[in-house]
């Protein structure tokens, strides 16, 4: 399993954030074209940074924990990382948005109910 450790970690990120799409109605996968368009430039820019980092010896990847599949000098895992992490970011952002809107809606309902009750009491 060791050679797949990095990939499994990325898979775990996808699995853990998946409920946000449905339970907290993030609707990121549902808007996959927009998600792809937002993530694509990030993948390109950060892959370039990663390649620079590898070539300039800022970092390297432990051969024990990566599959060994490479795209040029960059391990496949890094490409997966640059797709998965922004995707998790979008899911989190949209899930938070949904929760905030729910809270606002519940508050609004309560305020409305309180107002009607008061009006009824006045009448």
């Amino acid at each position: 399993m060791d050679p797949y450790q990095y990939l499994l970690l990325m898979a775990a990120c996808v699995v853990i954030t998946l409920p946000l799409e449905f339970v907290l109605r993030a609707r990121v996968y549902r808007r996959w074209r927009l998600a792809l368009a937002a993530i694509a430039p990030v993948v390109v820019l950060y892959a370039i940074w990663d390649i620079v980092g590898i070539l300039r010896d800022h970092w390297s990847y432990n051969p024990r924990f990566v599959s060994g599949i490479r795209l040029g000098v960059m391990p496949l895992e890094e490409l997966v990382f640059f797709i998965v992490v922004p995707l998790c970011g979008l899911l989190t952002y949209e899930a938070v948005g949904y929760v905030l809107r729910r809270v606002a809606a519940i508050r609004a309902t309560r305020t409305a109910r309180a107002t009607t009750d008061r009006e009824r009491a006045d009448a």
Binding site: Y6, L34, A38, Y61, V85, L90, V96, T109
Partner: protein
Amino acid sequence: MPEYTVLTVVSVVAVVALELLWLRTGLFRRAQYWIAMAIIFAFQTLVDGWLTKLSDPIVQYAPEQMLGIRAPWDIPIEDFGFGFSMVTLTLLLWVRLNRRAEARRSGTAPTEQRPTEQPRPEMTRPDATRVDDR
């Protein structure tokens, strides 16, 4: 300054400048963004902590290319700048693209600059119980 440190600072400044000078989505003024970022940073710490742990590192860093501050656990401090700029850039593009798509659907020109986020109709409708359009 070490190279990884320089590149991290450049990426953070570039993304913040992109928003403030060009995209102007208003993302930095939204509670939604800061709450999401707090959650993302918590999970980044877990994932990055696993990737960079010195006992069994997946990613190995050259000490001379970074400041050498590793916390929490063994995470190079620079990684948090890397994560911030990467996720913030994604969110900026996402918000902008969504707004454009919405504007196209409603047939109005996209508004580039919105000082405050327009509340969704259901937030202003007191009787709203349905908040999702599904």
